[in-house]
């Protein structure tokens, strides 16, 4: 799944470590989501969306290839 997480994070000038701290996850998790190697759980996706004040579907972009 593609996401706009990196773009949103960089817009706010946050490092991966800073965002990880805000979401109580590891920097490794943020990096894996940004590189598309890991799809977050629904609760974490909601927390990310809430952190950036956007809807989940505007951050995480579903591809038919992901199924």
């Amino acid at each position: 799944m593609n996401s706009r997480l990196r773009a949103l994070r960089e817009q706010r000038g946050w490092s991966q470590r800073e965002l990880a701290g805000r979401l109580s996850v590891s920097r490794q998790t943020i990096n894996a989501i940004e590189t598309g190697k890991y799809d977050p759980s629904l609760p974490l996706a909601f927390r990310i969306a809430r952190e950036f004040g956007e809807a989940i579907e505007s951050i995480f972009l579903f591809n038919e290839d992901d199924t």
């Binding site: 590891s26 998790t29 894996a32 890991y38």
Partner: protein, 134 residues
Amino acid sequence: MSRSLPGSWLRESLLAASVYLLTTWTCVWLLRHPLADAATWLRAGVGLLPVLAIGWAIRVVVRQALAGDELQRRINLEAIAVAALVVGLGSLTLSLLVVADVIAVSGQAALVWTLPALAMGYLAARVWATRRYR
């Protein structure tokens, strides 16, 4: 606050594994040399000392597993699954070769090395699983 770092987990795990190996080797040496003819209760006590180190190592792993976030738990699960399969398949292969009289492995050695093999397999699989998500 962000979750604990893999580096600190690795350091603590390696320290616990080192203490386990050191305790085991010391106990084996004691039982074979100075305590070879000691009373059974003393030999049993010394022989079971590595269990304390194993307990500590298990505590480290469980604590880290519970403190991890969802990705770290997934990595742990994959590492445990891979390690269990590899060690299980390795054990089966060895046992088949023993049955075929190709090699000889004592039951004592097999029992002693089961947990260390599982731990080493887990560490190697964890490194592999972690790299998959980089």
